[in-house]
């Protein structure tokens, strides 16, 4: 691997001049620069990132740490982040699991977006002492920490109230992972809306945000002595599972039971029938907002303006037509 020394030698200049030329520092003579560039090109020179990062104390990398790589929500957010990060001439670096903590601690990234409620809070707080962090869908306080949280409870609250007004009365909840922040908030909104109407939740089914877990919940719902007339699912994937279980049992949706989800993942997917009532989040925009905010924070390294909250919109579809 050629180093900057090789470039300097072959171009007949010192390393510092080579460095200036390579980095487009204006004070170098255009002819010299040209020569250096040509040599670099010819020997296929590329700066060593580790050396540069060590010296400059910056990596130009934005870390994105996620819980897993599956699901439409994750994909859309990531695409949004990716777009902005590239436009700002930085690199995106996605990781998952415990490598993520390592990368933060060892400073492989200049700033981070964390979308993983299981991520060690201590590590985040520590890292954020020196670098900005945007935390998606988790509340966390601290210097340089910017949580971006949607109104989970409020949105669910509104949806449920609307459903009550439509005449639904016997509600059950299909839950995401118990610890998940957004799941807890959604459950809270659900319970509160019912309470305000003098209703009680008939049952709580434990799921994990996947379609199969929704399907399993659906099976249980079918076997209930008194079936509910409305199933609220903490996300859309589980709602699909529930609907499938009901279909197999020939229980009509929405005639017999209304079903709703959260996220809006399938709004554009016409093959979902009946179309699913949901709370739609523009995840792509969310990713863009988060990344823009983060990079602004990094570059101004001071106060950042703008609100970071993703907007949710209730979308009433066929699955709750009553």
């Amino acid at each position: 691997m050629p180093t900057i020394k090789d470039v300097a030698r072959k171009a007949g200049v010192s390393v510092s001049t080579a460095s200036y030329a390579l980095n487009n520092v204006p004070l170098v003579n255009p002819e010299t620069r040209k020569r250096v560039m040509e040599v670099a090109e010819s020997i296929n020179y590329h700066p060593n990132a580790s050396a540069r990062n060590l010296k400059t104390k910056r990596t130009n990398n934005i870390g994105v740490f996620v819980y897993g790589f599956s699901g439409p929500v994750f994909s859309e957010i990531l695409e949004g982040i990716n777009k902005v990060v590239h436009a700002r001439h930085m690199n995106i670096l996605v990781s998952s699991g415990k490598s993520s903590s390592m990368m933060l601690k060892e400073k492989q990234v200049d700033a981070a977006i964390i979308f993983d409620s299981s991520f060690d809070k201590q590590v985040i707080v520590q890292y954020a002492k020196n670098s900005p962090v945007v935390v998606l869908d988790t509340f966390l306080k601290g210097k340089n920490i910017y949580p971006s949280v949607m109104d989970n409870d409020l949105l669910v609250h509104q949806l449920i109230r609307q459903m009550i007004n439509q005449g639904y009365q016997r509600f059950v909840y299909v839950s995401g992972p118990q610890e998940a922040f957004n799941n807890k908030e959604r459950y809270k909104g659900y319970l509160q809306a019912l309470a305000e109407a003098g209703l009680k939740s008939q049952q709580y089914f434990q799921g994990d945000f996947t379609t199969p877990s929704g399907y399993a919940a659906g099976k249980q719902i079918i076997s209930m002595k008194t079936r509910p007339d409305f199933v609220f699912c903490a996300n859309d994937e589980m709602a699909l599972g529930v609907m499938e279980a009901l279909r197999e049992a020939s229980i009509g949706v929405p005639e017999a039971i209304g079903v709703a989800g959260f996220d809006g993942s399938y709004l554009n997917n016409p093959y979902i029938r009946p179309s699913l009532t949901t709370i739609s989040i523009d995840h792509y925009a969310w990713g863009q907002t988060a990344a823009t905010f983060l990079i602004d924070a990094l570059q101004q390294s001071g106060e950042v303006k703008g609100v970071l909250k993703p907007i949710g919109k209730i979308m009433i579809k066929e699955s709750t037509q009553r």
Copy 2:
């Protein structure tokens, strides 16, 4: 940020001893090590990755470079890779777009898995002079380059032949991006199977592997003067779009038209009706295989055994019952 010097000073030892202790080099006195570790812990010391990488010329990072972050195929492969990489105590680092090339050139990763047929081949070949690279679903020759390609053409060939035997006669093809390697191979297999049976492809519809593009193709198919009785789609997502378009026009699948896809992405998703005939690839296993192979190559830095080809399996489902 504390450095190893700080640790050494506070522990009353030299930096080399501190380094040995922190890296579990056996020849250091257990008591000394303990003291060093405690100091490190107490001041929240973490080694600087850039410095370590610069010195050791290794990063412990496996790069995974993808075309985009969307879709089930991508997710599953990534989960498979992630599992193996973690088990082998390395870090996974996913990136997309032109950052990817940069990361390769600047040596931010020790080895790479590339799943992006638009990736600059030159860059790969250059990088692979010193580090192993596994290329998914693209043929590429060169030192240290290990392509992992499924039998796209053969599998499609078999499926189409089977469909011909079932009595289908008027075939159309819904294509992925024209340049995509796997798409081209699949088309080749499709054409050949038809040719061998003395049949001709009635039409070729340009798509891009997304459901909406399949839907658009479906609309066109409906308006054909002589409709096909079989639609082969280069992947499952497009097949869903086609089926939806047909459903909206009340054209029965499989009664009037058979539909098949590729990937097996929806085999476990019961809400797809009719269930889709497809060529199933175990992407999770594929990711695992690729990662295992790559890390072996990296560590033995020599010959690596084992076959790297993902296995495909034809799955006849409801969408082609004739």
